[in-house]
Amino acid sequence: MNIMTLVNALPGSVAQGLIWGILAIGVYITYKILDFADLTVDGSLGTGGAVAVVLIVNGVPVPLAIVCAFLAGCLAGLVTGLLNTLLGIPGILAGILTQLALYSINLDIMGQANTAINVDKYPLFMSLRFIPMTILKGVIVVALLIAVLYWFFGTEYGFTIRATGCNSNMARAQGINTKKSTVIALILSNGLVGLAGGLLAQYQGNADVNMGRGAIVIGLAAVIIGEVFGELILGKHLNFSGRLAFTAIGAIIYFIVIQIVLWLGLSTQNTKLFSAIVVAVFLAVPYIKRASKNSFRAAAKKSAGNVNEKGGSENA
């Protein structure tokens, strides 16, 4: 185990983390703001990748292809949103349905399971062959997105989404069309996921029908890790833009950790197992913390303690 192999691999983890950070920010919008566990993500990431790669290969300018990846993601979010609000399908199921449908659609878009794209032939926006440039551009894109989202969620429109996510009864009583705000949030979120897919495909040099498998778990991991670190470092001063920034940082930390465990000898095929365990642990910790403070066993112990004390004083 040569430490240098790890050190050399870290810039790549940062670059990857930044791209997945865009996805994680999308997940933050649904999971944290809208309170909607949206599994569309596993499909819309691939859609963004497929759309971007196929368009670029067919001669469409790269920036335009990236915009189209974003829009394709938006469309996926729209479908989930309509399944949920118009047809009354529960959120998780609506996401799963769209995700499944997208698997076929992604194959249709590419006409094959994997489409390669060569950075030597096309002026790609980012690539693992140019990692420093990718990191620089990744930071700029993430910063721009955070600025735009900070603005958006501060607008009247953004307020309606936040209110819908937290208390839809209250939102409706304030005249907010909660179905509409749900759909808009899903569109926005999956748009970002599509964008992440478009960038990720360029970065790794191909779009693959399986590239989104487990993406939601990585997104959640980033959100949760980011939250833990954000609160640890900034505490009370962690505002909305800080939370978004830490979500992207969470994604970077996630990929660095993955790199480290790979270096320590975890096999590549087990990274998804590792991710699932990490997310399960992070999700469970707050619950267990609360439960241990508020458990029957603790109550029984305290009650037993009181009886003993009383008994003791009586004897004295």
Partner: protein, 264 residues
């Protein structure tokens, strides 16, 4: 201002859980009327208010607010006519948003929302003054998340939000029932003050017969999804708790009454 015309509502029709919650409720409120609603548990008080708010469509009958027939409008479209405060202090506000942001949401009730800032500087100053009126010190915590407030503070804030933009009708559904007696009295007093100062038309459900007699200029009593007694003006002022109990007995509703309604 509010015309409820023979509305009926059956929940879970055709199942073993079928429940006729409203059996033809008719009620008319003039502008400035403050009507209290009493009745036993399950008599249809909340259901009546929910029908007005459009939580679901009624089976038959009609509802007019300020002359507009709103029977066919869904909840968020009706919101522009209504201010609402709920029994559960959690329901009326958004916990994860700031006090001032909650007020800003309420200030735009019934307006189409755009990409303008959700709250302006001028609004902040206005809200500061309004919150002072509550006398709860909330004016110094405008950027605190509402989730940090106590139940009473949240109800007071909800009341302010419900009346920030003058509603055609203010709906109060046992909005003090979840509060401790002292806080409940304070919130009720505040409600009275806001209603009279703004000359609001209000419909207030209360669990407490004494409160129902003391507040407002009109009272209705419900049982089994119907209004079984109605009084206003001088007639209402003369009512006593005993009178109301007798009315209940006459209608066979006495069993739905519990001590808290009498004792407060």
């Amino acid at each position: 201002m509010l015309e409820i015309n023979c509305i009926k509502k059956t929940f879970n029709a055709g199942t073993i859980n079928e429940k006729k919650a409203l059996n033809g409720v008719t009620l008319k409120l003039e502008e400035g009327d403050f009507c209290t609603v009493i009745g036993g548990n399950g008599s249809g008080k909340s259901t009546t208010l929910n029908a007005v708010a459009g939580v679901w469509p009624v089976d038959s009958g009609s509802i007019k607010i300020g002359g507009v027939d709103v029977t066919g409008l869904c909840e968020h479209k009706r919101a522009k006519y209504l201010g609402r405060v709920f029994q559960d202090p959690m329901t009326g506000t958004t916990a994860t948003m700031e006090i001032q942001e909650n007020l800003a949401l309420a200030a735009r009730r019934g307006q189409s929302r755009s990409l303008k800032w959700g709250i302006t500087k001028q609004e902040r100053e206005e809200y500061h003054e309004l919150l002072k009126m509550l006398d709860l010190g909330l004016e110094d915590r405008m950027t605190s998340k509402v989730g940090l407030l106590s139940g009473g503070q949240r109800q007071a804030l909800t009341l302010l939000m419900a009346t920030l933009k003058k509603p055609h009708v203010l709906l109060l559904d046992e909005h003090t029932a979840a509060l401790d007696p002292k806080t409940a009295a304070k919130v009720l007093e505040l409600s009275d003050k806001i209603i009279s100062e703004n000359k609001l038309t209000a419909l207030m459900v209360t669990h407490n017969m004494h409160d129902a007699i003391v507040h407002g200029n009109k009272i209705v009593m419900m049982n089994n999804g119907r209004i079984i007694f109605e009084a206003s003006g001088e007639e209402k002022k003369k009512l006593t708790v005993e009178d109301l109990l007798k009315k209940f007995e006459e209608d066979g509703g006495a069993s739905t009454i519990n001590d808290s309604m009498i004792l407060g």
